[in-house]
Every structure is written in C-alpha cells, then in structure tokens.
Symmetry: C2
Subunit: 414 residues, 2 copies
C-alpha cells in the first residue's frame, strides 16, 4: 500500500459518552505523531463542522492539556445529530465535504460515533471512493447503547454499565432503609436494545440488585408487571424494578407514551422518551398503595466519568489509536471494533475491523437466551459477558476534590 | 465522674446518607473495645427497634466484616421516621424505652441522625434523667441537608455536595455538546436549607457550573426565573439552572406544588416533594421553545457512596468514636459536632460538644451574605466554606469492579 500524505479530520457525533474523548484522544495523539499526517483537525460538532468549515487545529493545543481528554466526558470537539441524505437523492452535502477535503488536503477521515454516525461515515467513504478523491475513512465506535453490529462491545457501554450497576447497588441499600414498604422504579436509557438496563443485573450478581428488569427486546405487559410488583411487594415489603426507556407493549406502543400525551421527535425520527419511571411508579402506587419512587438515571448514566471503567477508557483509547494506525497503513472503509478472547482464563480485548456497510444502521440486541425464563431478568450469560468490561477504576485526575476536565483552546484552522 | 458499666444501644434515624454507617462504625468499634461497655446493640430501624425489642448484637458480627460499614451507604442497622410524643402528653413510648433499657442494662444510648433524630435523642435524654435511670445519651449528627444548628457542618453533607458538584460538572459537559440550544434544570434535595443546592456552585468554581442557582432561603419568582433563563438562553444557547426541591414563592407556596395537584405528607408533616425539575424545564420550554431537560438527582445524591468525600468519611467515623469516648468519660445530653480551625493555612476539623436541647429541631440555613447580589448564585464565602469538606476520594473497597458493601449477620440480642 502506497504511503498517503495529507491532513486528517476527526469528528464526534451522536450522544456523548464518558469515554468518547478517550477514543478521540487516541486518534488525535496518534495522528499528531504520524509522519504521514500533515495536520490534525477536529471537526467542530461533527460533520456539521466540516460543512461549515469549522475545523479546530489540534496541533495548536498544548499536548499536556490534551492528555486530560482521555478522562473528560462528553464530546470535547462538539457533537451533532445530522443525517446525510443519500448521495443519489441529494449530493449537496457531499460536494461541500469534498470541497473542504480538497481545501485542507484531507486524506484521512475518522468519525467517532454510534449507528447513525457509522451511516454518515459509510456514506462519506463510498462517496470519496466514487469521486476519486483518495481519502481513507475509518469509523471509531462509541455508544452507551452497545448496539453496534459486529463488535463484541462498544466503547462507552462499560462505563455506563458500571455507573448503572453501582447506582442500583446504592439505591438498593437506600430503598430498604425503612421498615415501611417501598417500590422503586429506575429508568435506564436504551431505545431498542436493553444492554444498559441489563447492566442492573450486575448489581444482582453482587446481592444488591433489582427484583425485576425489563428490556425493550421483550414485549412489556403493564398488567403483568403490576401483578409481579404487587406479589413481590406483598412478600418482601420492597420492590425494585429497572426498566428500559424503550419498553413497548405487544402492539409496539412505547409504555412511556401511556403517560405522555405529546412526544417530540428528534431529527432522526426517534421519539423523545422520558417520564417512564414516574409513570410506572405511580401505577404501582395506585395498585398497591405503597410509597413509591421513580428514578430516571437521565444524562448521568452517559456522562458520569467519575465512575467510568478504566478497561473501557483504555479500550476506547486503543480503538482511536488503531483507527489511525490502520488508516496510515492503508486500510479504509472500515470500523475499528473489538473481539474478545480468553487467555489463561483472563478476558482479553483485541482490535478487529468491520466493513462500514455491515455496521451502518444495523442494531445488535441482547440475545434472548441471556434472559431468565420469566423474561424479567438476566442470567449468568450476561454477567459473564459484561463483568470483565467494567473492571478497573478510572484514573480521572482530580483538582480540589473535583474532576479536572480538558480545557481546549479551540483554534480554528485557516 | 464515676465509671459506668453497662450495655449500649446505637440507633440510626431519618434519611440515610453515604457516610452515616461510618459514624455508626466509629461508635460500634469504639464501644466494642471499651472496658465499660458490656454489650453493644444496634437498634433495628432506630428507636422503633428499641420499642419493638429488636436489638442486633453487634458483638456477634465478624469484626473484619464490620469494617466494610465505614464505606457502605444508607443505614446498615435500618432507619425510621418515628416522632416521639412529648412525655408530658403521652409517656407510653418512654416507659417502654425505659423497660428495654432496664432489661438489657443499657447505660449508654447513641442516636445517629438529623434534626428530628436529635429531638428524639433529646427527649430520651431528658426522660432518663428525670426517671433516675442513669444512662448517658449522646447524639451523633448526620444529614445531607447540613442544617443542624451549632456544628460547623454535618457528617453526610460533604459527600452529597461532592456528588452534586461532580454531577453538575459532568452534566455541564454533556448539556452543551450539540450546537443546538438546550436548557437544563437540575433539582437537588433540601426542603428548607439550600446547602445541597449551593454545592452546585463548586462546579462553577471549576468553570463547569450552573448559570442559575436557587436556594429555598430566597423567595422564588417564576416569572423572574423564566426571564433570566430566556435571557441566558438567547445569549449563550445554553442554560443550566440548579434548584432546591424546597423553593417557595413569596406566599410560602412550594413551586413544586404549582405542577403537582396532590401532595402526600410524611409522618413529620413534611410535604413530599418532587417533579420540580420537569415542571420548571417545561415552563422554560413553553417560554423559549428550547429543547429542555429536567434532571432530579433523587436518592442518588444521598447514597452515592462511590463518590463520597474521604474527609467526610473520616470525620463521620471520628464523630461516632468521640461520642462513645465522651460518654464513657462521663458526658451526657450532648451532640457531638464539629468546629473548624485553620492551621498553617490548612483546614482542620475539631470535635465540639453541643447541648441536645440547643440543636433539637433548630435549623441552620445558608447565610444570605454568601449569596451573590442577584440571589441566584453563591459567592466565594460559600466556596471557601465547602471546598475543604469535599477533599479526598473514598477508599471504598471494590470487588469485581463494583462496591463491596457490608453484609451484617444481624443476630438479635436475647
């Protein structure tokens, strides 16, 4: 493969995570050190920064300050939720992207995101190939949802899972402190895949978990749910249920819609969910008369860098680094992902490449045989899968007892 | 002071915290090691455990296992919200307590809680003195609300404050990741005192904070709030407001009542609050059309042991230890509290005793001159006060990447 000299762009897209910046830092650092890469640009707010010619010159940042990116949550370069049209229908955006690539001699493009972002990445990759502008395009996965196809798991998932399991263990202790009854409903993110919600079962594994766990992979029956809650509550005086924001009834209607009249939709056509925990808690109260509490883990589950998994941070960094290394070595049109192996009984995570077309817009769900027989909990297969991922405490630097996050200068490229 | 030999009871009461068990462990460990104390009993669910003759024999626990109490959130012995009547009006409970004290030869009583618990502790102390049963009664403070009179600060506050400041810093990063507008309203606990909400200003001190902070110490004007939110949103495209659950309008009506029709009341006559963040976020949406998010920190702020302040843990332990040491040395009818001193420019926390009558039911609020001029934020006086308290990362032991909490055998005394 011939050596390709030129600039690179790194963009971040979609909902942020605790560790997406670790991937970006892995890519930026490796690119800055590469002889082939002549300039390293961060696209401000993902592909919109390319379209708007708002590129941040990462070479103008203090390398010591950049190190803090590895432990800073959310997308330091800014993110977007911008869906590229199909080039056959409307190639306006693509022409503009090519124009910018030519202006800055961009020969490497790294896009860091989830399903929708891999779609964007794939479309750009195919357009560049078709247009004859040599540019190596690599996807770097991130999503707390853990629903990207191919890869064993996604950077960002483990840290969210660790936060959820830890929080459920803590809430478990809190929710049974009184000798009076209490029903607690906790809502985790996950529109179509229940990986995050399933993470609550790691708390069960440690003996401080939920009585009931409901994933969007299984149709949700409100009456059956209330029956079970009532039964557990009558027996134990306490009941903790963890539900995914995306649970639906057998007709495909979101349970959150039962309580919410008007739902806005985001630019990808997804319904805006929320308020589900309160709705189910109130339904449980109406049924049992118990004191109830609905807890929405909300943004905290995706930005709680203080509770990140160091395994996740290190793997995220490695994914960013590998994307640049593979691209420089000649690879293009691939997403970097993970494959798990076991060496001497120990979990090991290896880099594996996946075709962008293969991963774009495909969703990986929790296998149904990882659920228990009554479909309201997970079995040991899930624990075996998830436990290695959440190992290791973050080395997040602290100042004055609080996190020290990165402060970028953000100098625009000219 | 004559040596007093006999058993001791330790009870926990009121809402739990991340570190109330550190205090209980400090008291239990010291009592188990004391020559004067013949048996150490944990009252199951506070004073209700005494009334119900449900005392846990702490001598039957494995001492190595007990050490985990120091880092386990919530009340390991169980808590209650039980208000003792005035003995002059109805002495039924007091007679029963005395009966139990005589049955087990209880000569030391330690009660670990907040305002209401210090009231209970005070009443028992006065009744025992009047009845002629020699029993040394000591209060050990705990409350995330930080509103106990006398003491410089309360065990439990700093850990909740650290969690709130950390979470606000993380949410700050997350809430400005897109180039589209966003208004975020975060609700912290604190019915009458704004200490917890004020902790958000520590995030401001680190440059990742809230635009607006509203404490219950100041009348809340919904229109003025929306004016400010709109102004900030129009200027910056983002706005983060942190509000106390207990904010009220000038007529004393809880803002949370604006949106909630029916409010249950707990056994102390406090209104059950909640849903405020969503209400204010929706009001901001109606005013500005912005995308909004309401985040209730809920139970997480009082049970997030994984983000506790080691300073808080150590001080909480010291308070429990001191309570036993003072009692054995002859002190009674006091609450252990803290006084701050400065040595070589460094914060130091010293034990100081306070009269139980003095602290029972009194509330300490945030001084108004610690607020900024517009009463929607805190000034440097608060930061100077709170910052030393949140120093140090918890040494919470982990197993499999998750907290290792205490597992008590809970053997009843006979």
């Amino acid at each position: 493969m011939s050596e390709l000299k030129g600039a690179c762009i790194i963009g971040q897209s979609g909902g942020p995570t605790s560790v997406i910046n670790a991937s970006a830092y892995g890519a930026i650092k490796t690119a800055l050190e590469s002889d082939c890469i002549t300039a390293v640009y961060g696209a401000e707010h993902g592909i919109k920064g390319v379209l708007d010619d708002k590129l941040l010159d990462m070479g103008k940042e203090d390398p010591k300050e950049l190190e803090y990116m590895k432990y800073t949550p959310s997308s330091a370069l800014g993110s977007c939720r911008y869906k590229l049209k199909n080039a056959e229908d409307d190639d306006t955006d693509y022409k503009r992207i090519l124009e910018i690539f030519k202006k800055y001699n961009v020969r490497y493009f790294f896009y860091n995101g989830g399903n929708d972002s891999m779609d964007t990445c794939n479309k750009i990759s195919k357009y560049m190939a078709k247009s004859g502008w040599e540019c190596r395009v690599m996807g770097i996965p991130k999503t707390i949802d853990n629903d990207l196809a191919g890869t064993d798991h996604c950077p960002g998932y483990a840290s969210a899972a660790k936060y959820i399991a830890t929080s459920v263990m803590e809430i478990y202790r809190d929710a049974r402190v009184y000798d009076t009854g209490m029903i607690t409903v906790i809502e985790a993110m996950g529109r179509n895949a229940g990986w995050l919600t399933a993470a609550a079962s790691l708390a069960n594994y440690k003996g401080n978990g939920a009585d009931l766990i409901y994933l969007p992979e299984v149709d949700f029956d409100l009456d059956a749910f209330l029956d079970k809650v009532e039964e557990i509550y009558k027996k134990n005086g306490k009941c903790i249920a963890v539900v995914s924001e995306g649970i639906k009834d057998k007709n495909g209607k979101y349970i959150s819609e039962y309580g919410a009249e008007n739902l806005a939709k985001d630019s990808f056509g997804h319904s805006q969910l929320g308020g589900l925990a309160s709705f189910l808690a109130n339904a449980a109260k109406a049924r049992t008369g118990a004191k109830v509490r609905g807890i929405e883990l909300s943004l905290l589950q995706r930005c709680a860098a203080h509770c990140a998994s160091q395994t996740d941070i290190d793997e995220s960094f490695a994914a960013g680094k590998a994307a640049v290394e593979y691209a420089v070595a000649g690879t293009t049109d691939r997403m970097v992902g993970f494959e798990r192996s076991c060496e001497d009984g120990k979990y090991k995570c290896n880099i594996k490449l996946f075709g962008l077309t293969e991963v774009a817009n495909a969703e990986k769900k929790v296998p149904l045989d990882w659920l228990n027989e009554t479909k309201d909990g997970l079995n040991e297969k899930f624990v075996e899968y998830a436990l290695p991922l959440i190992q290791g405490e973050t080395k997040l630097p602290k100042e004055d007892g609080l996190p020290r996050f990165v402060q970028l200068r953000k100098v625009y490229a000219k």
